[in-house]
């Protein structure tokens, strides 16, 4: 890696972020992110979807800085609810509940909050270093990719998201394909044929990603959570700065777990399909396994919050690697970010770093600045978020309904857009009832047109020979990974099926 290139880039990034606008949007993002992360019930996906309209009028760099801020801000805030309420604020801080809440019950909520903030900071900053170190070489490598490589890469990304996420594979695959098809709605650019538009003029330009994301994620969360008026019971209402300071023993116990978590998180974040949730669970398991006394876990072990929080935040940062350097989103949040870039006319891909260095480096530097802001927001200003936790839902949700509607309306000043969102909201609600995950739909919808285009182009290049995908080494390797993934999923399925059958027959024999 060329160090001077990196330092030039960082300088460029500094000049983008250290402007009144840059700092404002960075702060706005992390502030909103923490706010949302703290509230249980509203995830980062819903928030980003709900706030996308406000970024439409911004420069793409600031739009991305804001949305990314929401994402990693939420990863910080999520642990606050985990510790004080015994309810995870976001999915990736679910593990923090296990030892964070017991710590709070022992009167050590301040220490827990402090350690999670520090662990989050270390994880994020180390993840950011990995992001800086890997993005450029990866982009350089990928710049020689042509259509078959892109197709295979996207296929791998989608399969990994569907099969590694831990959900039910057929449901997830069905949702990926459903998303790909939603992405095709509109006029086909190659032939001028309108597809799946059913004569609705609003559909000619394709479905609005905002409407789709807001409908599938935002509305169901409003529907589900708005019935509870009273906020959950808080353990500690007042948290003084003094009570937050960890003892020397706490530091010693938390230090290495933080770094182990960072390593695990950086790795899983960069892989497509895995992210903060898997990384945090994984790092918790590792800590428990290597601990001298595993029985302390679940009863307020400080390692049990330090490592997963570092992992979760490192994963958030390295999750940007495939997105920014290859243009391939690893999960639905990243797909939304790419969608926003595309709406702004920026084409994501390995060229992004070289063609739009101000965007790339501006975003990277904003991560560093945003993380410093987050430490300030989460340690000295923790009292603010404890207050946020006590906002009654019957004030919060009606307000969100109005803000969301105005946001949707303001994009095109068309009331019809609100009805489109409502329609997707009903679909999203139905999907929840039937246990479909909406995240793969978004991923598919963003990748659909790209995949089709590259598939077509590859087959034009090869004169219709499918072997072309295997003959090209990089594409062949990626397809090999796809095959392995599918085989290992089938293997895992068959094994659990056999095991449970053996158990069932053993139980019968015992009777």
């Amino acid at each position: 890696m060329d160090m001077s290139q990196v330092s030039d880039g960082l300088l460029l990034g500094l000049s983008v972020v250290f402007t009144a606008e840059g700092l404002f949007y960075c702060f706005l993002g992390v502030f909103l992110g923490t706010f949302i992360g703290v509230l249980p019930g509203i995830g980062p996906m819903a928030t980003i979807a709900m706030l996308m309209p406000i970024t439409f009028h911004l420069d793409p760099t600031y739009a991305l800085i804001t949305l990314a801020g929401i994402y990693y801000g939420a990863a910080y805030g999520g642990s606050t609810a985990s510790i004080l309420l015994n309810l995870p604020g976001t999915a990736s801080s679910a593990v923090t509940v296990l030892d964070g809440y017991p710590m709070a019950r022992q009167g050590r909520s301040g220490v827990a909050l402090f350690i999670t903030a520090i662990a989050s900071f270390i994880g994020s900053m180390a993840g950011l270093v990995v992001l800086i170190a890997l993005s450029q070489p990866l982009a350089q490598f990928a710049i020689g990719f042509s259509a078959p490589e892109y197709f295979s890469l996207m296929l791998l990304g989608l399969l990994a998201a569907a099969l590694l996420g831990g959900g039910k594979p057929f449901r997830t695959l069905a949702m990926v394909v459903f998303g790909l098809m939603l992405g095709l709605v509109g006029i086909d650019l190659n032939s001028g044929q309108s597809r799946f538009t059913y004569g609705v003029p609003q559909f000619f330009e394709g479905l609005s990603l905002v409407a789709l994301a807001m409908g599938l994620f935002g509305l169901p969360e409003i529907f589900q959570n708005s019935a509870n008026s009273a906020p959950p019971e808080l353990l500690n209402k007042k948290i003084t700065l003094r009570s937050m300071l960890p003892t020397r023993a706490d530091w010693r116990a938390a230090w290495w777990p933080m770094w182990r978590g960072t390593g695990i998180g950086s790795f899983f974040g960069a892989l497509p399909g895995t992210g903060g949730v898997i990384a945090s669970f994984m790092s918790y398991t590792v800590e428990k396994r290597i601990a001298k006394d595993p029985s302390r876990f679940g009863k307020g072990a400080i390692e049990g919050i330090a490592s997963p929080e570092a992992a979760n935040n490192a994963a958030v940062q390295t999750g940007f690697i495939p997105t920014l350097s290859l243009g391939i989103p690893g999960d639905a949040v990243m797909a939304l970010m790419l969608g926003v870039l595309m709406i702004h006319g920026v084409s994501p891909g390995p060229g992004l770093i070289f063609d739009a260095p101000d965007l790339f480096w501006g975003v990277v530097v904003s991560f560093a600045v945003g993380n410093v802001m987050l430490v300030i927001l989460n340690i000295p200003l923790i009292g603010l978020w404890v207050k946020v936790l006590s906002i009654p839902y019957n004030i919060l949700f009606p307000t969100i309904v109005v803000l969301v509607s105005i946001g949707v309306y303001s994009v095109n000043y068309s009331a019809i857009d609100i009805f489109v969102v409502v329609a997707f909201g009903m679909i999203g609600y139905g999907m929840r009832m039937l246990k479909f995950d909406a995240a793969p739909v978004i991923l598919g919808c963003v990748l659909g047109p790209l995949m089709e285009e590259n598939f077509r182009r590859a087959l034009v290049l090869s004169n219709g020979e499918f072997t072309y995908f295997i003959e090209r080494p990089v594409s062949g390797f990626l397809l090999g990974c796809c095959t392995l993934l599918v085989i290992s999923t089938i293997y895992g399925y068959v094994r659990t099926a056999l095991q449970s059958r053996r158990k069932a027959s053993a139980a019968k024999a015992a009777i």
Partner: protein, 155 residues
């Protein structure tokens, strides 16, 4: 091994198949082209086929998965507790969409808050009314006068 297929999975699978079939019927209208020179119908037809296959997969495999459903199934079933917030919030969104252009933002926002407030039956009406006034006034101030969005405030 003869387990009955859970109703959620059956509905889910049938819906996926239905979407696949509807999409397939539509996609068959588009020129398929050849592999060398694909028409706009190629990709959609392949995807519709996959959707139907995965729908069958949901019914046949996930419907009678050997692993017992660990997540509480009852929690997701629509019940009376879920219907009320659903309808209240839907009414709020729809009313805002219907009212914003003819009656202006202030009235539309206030009505939407009143309706959304019905989601929780324990909230007293005066509280919701007060919130409606505050949210309507604040959103007019912030969005129309502050951010200068081109939205009418009053009828």
């Amino acid at each position: 091994m003869l387990k009955s297929i859970s109703r959620t999975d059956l509905t889910a699978g049938l819906l996926v198949i239905a979407v696949g079939v509807v999409a397939l019927i539509e996609a068959l209208n588009y020129p398929f082209g050849t592999t060398r020179n694909m028409g706009p119908g190629y990709f959609p037809i392949v995807l519709s086929g996959l959707l139907i296959v995965f729908g069958l997969g949901i019914i046949l495999f996930e419907g009678r998965a050997p692993v017992a459903d660990d997540d509480a199934e009852a929690g997701d079933k629509p019940s009376r507790d879920h219907i009320r917030p659903l309808l209240a919030n839907l009414a709020a969104f729809v009313s805002l969409g219907l009212l914003i252009e003819s009656f202006g933002l202030f009235i539309a926002a206030a009505v939407a808050v009143m309706l959304a407030g019905l989601a929780d039956k324990r909230t007293p009406l005066w509280k919701t009314a007060l919130l409606a006034f505050i949210v309507a006034a604040a959103s007019c101030l912030i969005f129309v006068y502050g951010l200068r969005l081109q939205i009418k405030v009053f009828p």
